[in-house]
């Protein structure tokens, strides 16, 4: 499995950037000719992860959110979304559906959505250092080297 294309971008943790982030990732992977539903799954997962950085990673201040997207020659998309925020004390608990520490009407479904819309989700976090979420999804319809 080789990486055939890669995107790196970073931006301030303002909620207006949620749509920017998912639109940018979506534009980058369009070359793979994803189905509408694959594209929608990926946009939704990115939106959840970026919202987590904004709401939980940097709760009372603005910080930088880093996104790295890799496309492999096996049509796999690997998306890493990272913050240098406060971190998650208990990742296992955070991954439970409906668990939320926020009182701002969050459904507590962020990780559940990422896990069900992507093939694989990995969360690494350290208190005071930050959190990174790595998500993978393989597209089935086309092959990168065809285009």
């Amino acid at each position: 499995m080789n990486v055939v294309n890669e995107l790196n971008f970073s931006f301030l943790s303002k909620s207006t950037n949620e749509s920017f982030a998912r639109a940018t990732v979506s534009a980058f992977i369009l070359c793979l000719d994803p189905t509408i539903s694959e594209l929608s799954d990926i946009k939704t997962a990115v939106s959840e992860a970026v919202t987590n950085c904004i709401v939980h990673g940097y709760p009372d201040y603005l910080g930088i959110i880093y996104i790295n997207v890799k496309i492999t020659d096996t049509n796999k998309i690997i998306i890493k979304i990272r913050d240098k925020g406060i971190g998650i004390p208990d990742v296992k608990q955070a991954l439970e559906p409906l668990f939320t520490t926020s009182n701002d009407e969050r459904a507590g479904l962020g990780f559940a959505v990422m896990q069900s819309f992507m093939d694989n989700v990995k969360v690494r976090s350290k208190e005071g250092v930050g959190t990174s979420v790595t998500m993978e999804k393989t597209l089935y319809r086309t092959s990168y080297d065809k285009r």
């Binding site: 909620s15 009407e105 459904a107």
Partner: protein, 101 residues
């Protein structure tokens, strides 16, 4: 404009447009809640016809309005959900509230 409201026959209809995410949800919520409080409708309809994208913030929005309208003795209906949003709706288990029409 992300939400347009109409009040007819004691039914408050909120038509939602565009993309619903964490950023957009708060202004939608404020507009619907202020109308719900002043009009005290028997039914609140959230119309998703014009929604092109939604993440779990949309689920939070529905659950919050469900609570809000229940407090004043009204009921919530979620109508015209596009096919593209059905996956996240069913994942959320929101059907169990009996609000999806």
């Amino acid at each position: 404009m992300v939400v347009e409201t109409d009040f007819t026959d004691n039914i408050l209809t909120a038509k939602l447009y565009g993309e619903i995410d964490h950023h957009k949800a708060s202004s939608i919520r404020n507009k619907i809640d202020s109308q719900t409080e002043s009009l005290r409708p028997k039914e609140l309809h959230l119309d998703f016809t014009g929604v092109s994208f939604m993440d779990s913030s949309g689920i939070g929005l529905i659950m919050g309005r469900y609570r809000q309208v229940s407090l004043i003795g009204g009921t919530l209906k979620v109508v015209n959900v596009p096919k593209s949003l059905q996956k996240i709706m069913s994942l959320s288990g929101i059907d169990s509230l009996g609000v999806l029409k």
